[in-house]
Symmetry: C2
Subunit: 212 residues, 2 copies
Amino acid sequence: MALALHSYWRAGAPYRVRIGLHLKGLPYDYVPVNLLAGDQHGAAYKGLNPQGLTPALVVDDGLVLTQSLAILEWLEETHPEPPLLPRSAADRAVVRAMAGIVACDIHPLNNQRVLKALAGLGVDEAGRNAWAARWIAAGFEALEPMIARHGAGFAFGESPTLADCCLVPQVYSAGRFGVDLSAYPAIRAAAERAAAHPAFAAAHPERQPDAA
Amino acid sequence: MALALHSYWRAGAPYRVRIGLHLKGLPYDYVPVNLLAGDQHGAAYKGLNPQGLTPALVVDDGLVLTQSLAILEWLEETHPEPPLLPRSAADRAVVRAMAGIVACDIHPLNNQRVLKALAGLGVDEAGRNAWAARWIAAGFEALEPMIARHGAGFAFGESPTLADCCLVPQVYSAGRFGVDLSAYPAIRAAAERAAAHPAFAAAHPERQPDAA
């Protein structure tokens, strides 16, 4: 199976998928989409993903998958080992809820297009950073007790799950916004543990070919 | 199995779960959480869901599930019939991508807490409505060709899926923000078809016990 991931090094959603691909041990071609240069709005990329957002994963030069959570679930269904979801439905719901907190309640409010729109409303850089930090804090306050309860090294249990695929890029982003993580020891511990894992290391933004 | 859904009649995320519960034919107790009165920040609700967001689904007075997509996936895993996801992994990825466009790229930008935060930044009501309409339009532009291609009555194929569980509440919300849907005939057709389905009708905000 040939996989091509359309990605921008520093964006959160493709970072999640890179982690998933490395955890599954799947090699892929890396196709950079320069979000700062506006590549995502160009005809070439919009032909692939009319939404103009990264990532897109192209399978065997035909099937185009979009939306990072949908891609991660597809990876799990087509390549079940190693599993990125626990076995019981109740545990799977917890992992997916952790992923959802990041993917639905934190990240959408802080990505590049939203910060640009805020600037268009006259919100200055300090205001935009405060905006980002506010939603990161709200989400992390919800995640912290969940990880403290369910984590055992990783965010849920002793091995990486979809939750870590989402958490680690969000912690990276929090660093960019200068969010103080000292109130979130369980999140920090999980992110540090993940950083030491080779799949997470390989997926790190600064290890990507388009890193500036 | 006893189910209690903590919901607010007009909020999008619990509306998704109500649709899923009705599609699966699962009776549940309805527990209102008045978001306008701030119930979601009270100790009682935060004891259930520290994130202070709706919905929460309590199973057998013990297991507490949060995050609407995670709850819908749990419903699908624990009650497979009728299926809310197609059979092939590729098709499932399309349905989940449709759901993700709504749940990750539209709704998080338009919900009550975000509109309130914008007001706090000095954005007036017209500006807030324009903000909401902007993200709805961006998401619907992506969904329209997907539904035109894959839909056959419902958003994907001939029966309801997770995509419809997310789409219908978003179309309802678009109406509240005065978004013109004439540019999205496939979305409109899918939403109208769903409105005629008894599960969607039963889940409609105005049919809920706390509807004002």
